[in-house]
Amino acid sequence: MEKSTVFNNRLLPYLLLFPQLVVIIVFFYWPASQAVWQSFLREDAFGLVSEFVGFENYQALFAQPEYYRSMLTTAIFSSLVATLSLSIALLFATQADKNLKAAGAYKTLMIWPYAVAPAVAGVLWFFMFQPSLGMLARPLRGMGVDWNPLLNSTHAMILVVMASVWKQISYNFLFFLAGLQSIPRSVIEAGAIDGAGPMRRFWTIVFPLLSPTTFFLLVVNVVYVFFDTFGIIDAVTGGGPAGSTTTMVYKVYADGRLGGDLGGSAAQSVVLMVIVIALTAIQFRYVERKVQY
């Protein structure tokens, strides 16, 4: 799609583009290419001398058991958060899609957590489940569960997942509700006339028609878990205990800052870039074609 009528200035369009291009080149392309370049270098301990080492950083990276562990952690974490937050949000959205009098009020009450910063969400959940003073940790301990997310890896993961799901429900709810409302009533009525009950109508008509929304949300949720949950993890567990909640993004941060291994950190950045570009490509390719409308 192109405009048929346009202006014919020679210089003006470049002037208009200039601010955006400067910002993007200085703060996006330059750092991104530096990350790629740095992933082939090794710096000495003081960062004074660096030498070209080819793929050594990558070899070192893929020889680290911790890196595979962070991949596994990321995979478990993303599938749990995506599955839970999508199904819970879909449940709420289908209820809010019924012709309720208070539907508008419920919508407002459901979507505001979108505005809560991930780090703040992490602090809120940590406060509830902090082993010694958490309001919800005490009853757990009372029931004989030795609840301690500071020491127990499984507990730490559960807590981070809960906080991440809590934060993401509002987003998924909003898009599911919009998706549900765009399904023509006539299709559902036709199902009802043929004698299909509410459950049958949902699984055979509504859910398949909702698949573009679901697939879009799936990709968005995976990207969310990869990047936006950094704040939650840092606030709740700091990647611990013993690295059990260190996702790939968290490891980029931890290795570069605490470990000072910039080459290794850059190599990890590049691996992440490839993953994100692949995810985006999948999104563009499949959202438009393969999913049923």
């Binding site: 405009k3 048929s4 009528t5 346009v6 202006f7 014919n8 020679r10 003006l12 369009p13 583009l17 601010p19 955006q20 291009l21 993007i24 200085v26 996006f28 392309y29 750092p31 991104a32 530096q34 990350a35 709420f92 019924k98 012709n99 309720l100 419920y106 407002t108 009450l109 459901m110 979507i111 505001w112 979108y114 505005a115 809560v116 910063a117 780090a119 703040v120 602090v123 809120l124 406060f127 509830m128 003073l133 309001m135 809590w166 429900i169 509002s170 909003l174 919009a178 879009f216 990207v223 990047f227 950094f230 704040g231 840092d234 980029v252 941060y253 570069g256 950045s269 870039m273 994100v276």
Partner: protein, 282 residues
């Protein structure tokens, strides 16, 4: 509706009420904790009703700061958050409305290339290139400055795509009419296109304000002085003491203050928010 069953409505209300409860509960607890004194909160037997220390806690959090952890009062952090959030929103709107205008309303060599150069930035969030970006900002002497907090976060294509999409829906007749009236690119932009873009701009502002306010990793890295930190990064630092010593009632008051502005934006500008969210994701 297809059929109307009272039972189905009842179930819907029950499930939604449960949902609202789950969503609100963590915040309710934080709110309660921010009204009690330190001993009540740390004792772990906090009542479910508000206490009497509300004013004192919020006053201390905003103006005085904690006593056990040496840190800045929150009032200053709120100001930093506000400046960087507004800077991010306004900065992004400015650079992207101009570049979208160039891409849609002009024909020039490298137009497609320029568009793709901008478009590709959609793919990589700042978290991926965090240290190289840090180095660039450090080399430019922008650590601990508002420019350093703002500029790297506006280097993305979302705004440009949004405005481009909107400009494409503006009828060509408007441009033809203004040209007949003798309007040049400046007058057309200022008198015709900008007034039409008000809603789109406001929607983008709402989304970018929330995005900017909630930033965590980037401000954490580039602010070394306490006087430059934002409120979202400040909370974490209040809790980095041994747990028994952390002043939870102040931390929770800070948490409430940190979420108040963006939540208010979502609640009071819900229509713009929803529009912005749906359209930036297209």
């Amino acid at each position: 509706m297809v059929e109307h069953r009272p039972l189905s409505d009842f179930i819907a209300y029950a499930i939604l009420t449960l949902g609202v409860f789950i969503v609100a509960f963590p915040v309710y607890l934080a709110l309660i904790a921010s009204t009690h004194d330190a001993a009540t909160v740390v004792g772990g037997r906090m009542p479910a009703t508000p206490g009497s220390q509300t004013l004192e806690n919020y006053y201390r959090a905003i103006f005085v700061g904690g006593s056990r952890t040496s840190r800045e009062p929150v009032g200053h952090m709120l100001m930093n958050s506000l400046i960087s959030a507004i800077g991010i929103a306004v900065g992004k709107i400015l650079i992207s409305i101009l570049s979208a205008y160039a891409v849609v309303y002009f024909r020039f060599p490298f137009r497609k290339a320029a568009f793709w150069i901008i478009f590709i930035t959609l793919m990589l969030p700042v978290e991926v290139r965090i240290y190289p970006t840090y180095k660039v900002v450090a080399d430019l002497g922008m650590l601990d400055t508002y420019a350093g907090l703002i500029l790297p976060l506006i280097a993305s294509a979302t705004g440009t795509l949004l405005f481009r999409q909107f400009f494409m829906t503006v009828p060509d007749e408007l441009l033809e009419a203004s040209r007949i009236d003798g309007a040049g690119p400046f007058r057309f932009f200022w008198d015709t296109l900008l007034p039409l873009s008000v809603t789109t701009t406001a929607a983008l502002f709402v989304i970018q304000f929330i995005y900017g306010w909630n930033q965590y990793l980037w401000p954490l890295l580039i602010t070394t002085q306490d006087s430059m930190q934002t409120i979202v990064t400040g909370i974490k630092k209040m809790l980095v003491t041994t747990d028994e010593l952390a002043e939870w009632q102040l931390a929770m008051a800070t948490t409430i203050l940190a979420m108040l502005p963006p939540v208010a934006v979502v609640v009071f500008m819900q229509r713009l928010f929803v529009r912005g969210l749906v359209e930036t994701e297209k």
